[in-house]
Symmetry: C2
Subunit: 315 residues, 2 copies
């Protein structure tokens, strides 16, 4: 059975092919090595005691004068403030003092500190003149593009709105122009009505497996309220920390210690997007390598039924 | 030094960052295993004697009643003819009888047979009612998405024009509407004038490293004439075979036996695109894994100067 599905947030076309995931390719999954990692590494720039090896600290959350999470300048920035054409500040958020920590085993207090420092840095970086977007993402595991093991995410302020966000905004604007409704509120209502793709329907966030997405196994979180990250109150952070704690433990039970990316898509700063848009997070497993078909056509092939994945991850 | 570059064939925005490729990530290159492979494998469906293990043969080029290259039905098709919404025929082109053959060591006669069977299958598949596009691509190496080692490429007829082609066509149409010139002829003239990015300027094809592209290390071939693949004469095939022979030996000397994808972009079949478009081939090394920044923004970061790569690959 093959059908075409449209990802309602991005407009991307996806080919669903339930038969396709039986091909030999499935024997070539990206290898999942569960490596024993030390709790502290002498050579890791993000470990305690090695502060001189990483970029200058921009903000920290501390206990008894010792940092728990911190944001430091990226020593190999994608963007910096040196050029006029494209600029921004690229920071690395060191998410834990434990070198071998992972989202799969972190506690809610640790997640809360991560989200708090996202908020602190979002606020600070969005004050800088000319900045139009604050981009937050995480690479976990070598196959995700991560260059260092120590758990970290990244925050980059940008003077441009990235093309992927422009696309999401355009899709949402077109929807609003058509039916005078916020696309994200519509999606939340649709998922609630259908219910089979929902992983968790919480007070401030809904977590679900999208009906169509490019990367098999993606999980999405959509914020139900229209607060920017800089406006989150403790209740939002508590709710999100509860979700991450449970979601990643279920994810680990299902996927093992696979590489993944987390993409936090927030409001651009050039104007008010609350009518049409909502904060949302894409969590994308990096289990397979896409091939020439995807590169050549920009069509992605998915063999996993969203309802099946949702039932595995539900909590 | 950072700047933004636009890929003139796709309109894609790319961040060039010469400093970026010095980051620790570079120590995490996708591993290049030069495995000793046998010339024949008992379990490989594409090896001689195992014809019963693969899909039904659609076309062959033979010598003394033995096939040299052949096109067989893909047993795990992305598309088939069973559904109305999206359909097409998915064939695998077995490029050699040698299980361990590779583009890095094939001769010009072998390449000529591959291009001839591309031509035969393009002709046959484009006769089928409703087919709008013939998609040819190759995955080589596990990191490219290939599921089998035996050298092969793939051809898929499609009832839709894939989004990536629609994008290239749109960019070319806009250029034509602006200046009444074929974008690809303009690109050829620009590369010839600049000359530093050219790898080979041959009679029917030009080979160069694009000024901007998403995947560091991409090489492009553009056909100078407006013939469709189904119209290629022996001279075109001879020229292209000469180029592939020399290009991939230089490529191997520079990159080693890395995974790569080859994307053959041809005229869609719904109308005549000769005024605005030309056949072209993207050859993309799969050396690095892209990360969350690229997934989140659709902005790609490139650290390799095209002139440097062109001088390494020139012949």
């Amino acid at each position: 059975m093959k059908d075409i599905r449209i990802d309602d947030m991005t407009g991307n076309m996806v080919i669903y092919s339930s038969y396709r995931n039986k091909r030999p390719h499935d024997n070539r999954k990206v290898s999942v090595k569960v490596e024993e990692k030390p709790v502290h590494s002498e050579t890791c720039p993000f470990c305690v005691g090695n502060e001189h090896m990483c970029g200058e600290s921009q903000d920290e959350i501390s206990l008894d004068d010792k940092w728990l999470v911190k944001s430091v300048l990226n020593k190999f920035p994608i963007l910096d403030m040196s050029t006029d054409e494209i600029y921004g500040q690229h920071e690395v958020i060191v998410e834990s003092t434990r070198h071998n920590a992972g989202y799969f085993e972190m506690g809610q207090d640790e997640f809360a500190n991560i989200f708090k420092i996202y908020q602190m840095r979002s606020k600070a970086l969005s004050q800088v003149e000319g900045i139009s977007y604050i981009n937050i993402f995480k690479n976990s595991g070598a196959n995700s593009g991560a260059s260092l093991d120590h758990p970290h995410s990244q925050i980059i302020s940008m003077n441009v709105i990235p093309p992927e966000l422009e696309k999401e905004i355009r899709v949402a604007q077109e929807f609003y122009d058509d039916v005078e409704e916020n696309l994200y509120e519509y999606i939340i209502a649709q998922e609630q009505e259908n219910s089979t793709r929902i992983i968790r329907d919480s007070k401030y966030f809904i977590v679900f497996v999208p009906y169509a997405c490019r990367y098999s196994g993606e999980v999405r979180l959509v914020q139900k309220t229209d607060l920017a990250i800089s406006e989150w109150d403790d209740e939002h952070i508590k709710d999100l920390s509860y979700i991450f704690d449970h979601l990643f433990k279920k994810w680990f039970a299902y996927n093992g210690d696979i590489a993944f990316n987390m993409l936090v898509h927030t409001y651009p700063l050039d104007k008010d997007y609350r009518d049409i848009f909502r904060n949302h997070i894409h969590i994308i497993p990096r289990k397979y390598n896409f091939g020439g078909f995807e590169l050549s056509t920009d069509l992605f092939v998915c063999g996993l039924e969203p309802e099946d994945l949702a039932s595995e991850l539900r909590f």
